[in-house]
Symmetry: C2
Subunit: 112 residues, 2 copies
DNA sequence: CCGACAAATGAACTGATGTTCATATATGAT
DNA sequence: ATCATATATGAACATCAGTTCATTTGTCGG
């Protein structure tokens, strides 16, 4: 499928990166950006053990509430986590198992 | 293996994040940082098609040589790429198939 | 309605990161 | 040795990203 054809069947050399759209590359970078910070990785790992509210996450990571909330927002925007309200509390959870897979993948590479 | 035991067999609640070392988390973040930039992702994708020298990469990405060299250095330090000299040129290549796997993984998540 | 608690938000500060420009190093050809 | 080409490197600059602090919003109990 790669490469367009000229009038007489000669293949036009396709740009080496044209197979992946510029937008897609950006999205990919954005996705990995979410995993590119210790705090966010810790949050994701923390949620691996099941859903938790903000205060619990703060305690687990030993970080202040504001910092955590800001990061939770980013993770939510990236659709890596979801949340629901339960009374005064906000319960966060991993959006899907893809997150676990990606973490495991990275971990595996490190232990090479 | 999780949790230490007190004198009489009572389990001490283990810190929710203690299963993954602080250092390991940092390494993981460092790894993903490499994928968290469009330029670097483009370089990696470019090398997916086989080894290339610096000039070729510059042409493919349409970016100036210095910017590329700086990024190549980062990728090399992270051991995601390797290189060898061939005359005046420096040939870069993906360090292993792990890189491809991670890229594919991310791509897959995006197209969810 | 009011006070207490949980979480979100915005502004400010700080440190990290990517690009550019100028220059240095390395290799091969003459 | 000198020159041209290929790549690396360092400093400067501008932008971005994470944390903190102060404040606000939202929810429950009285």
């Amino acid at each position: 499928m790669a490469g367009k054809y000229m009038t007489h069947g000669t293949k036009v050399p396709e740009h080496p990166l044209s197979c992946v759209g510029e937008d897609e590359l950006s999205d990919l970078a954005e996705l990995f950006k979410m995993f590119a910070d210790s705090t966010r990785i810790k949050i994701l790992y923390d949620l691996t053990g099941g859903e938790k509210n903000v205060t619990e996450i703060c305690e687990d990571l030993e970080m202040n509430q504001s910092a955590i909330s800001h990061q939770l927002k980013l993770l939510k925007t990236a659709k890596l986590i979801g949340c629901r309200r339960s009374g005064k509390q906000m319960i966060y959870f991993l959006a899907d198992d893809h997150v676990k897979t990606i973490l495991a993948m990275g971990k595996e590479h490190i232990e090479e």
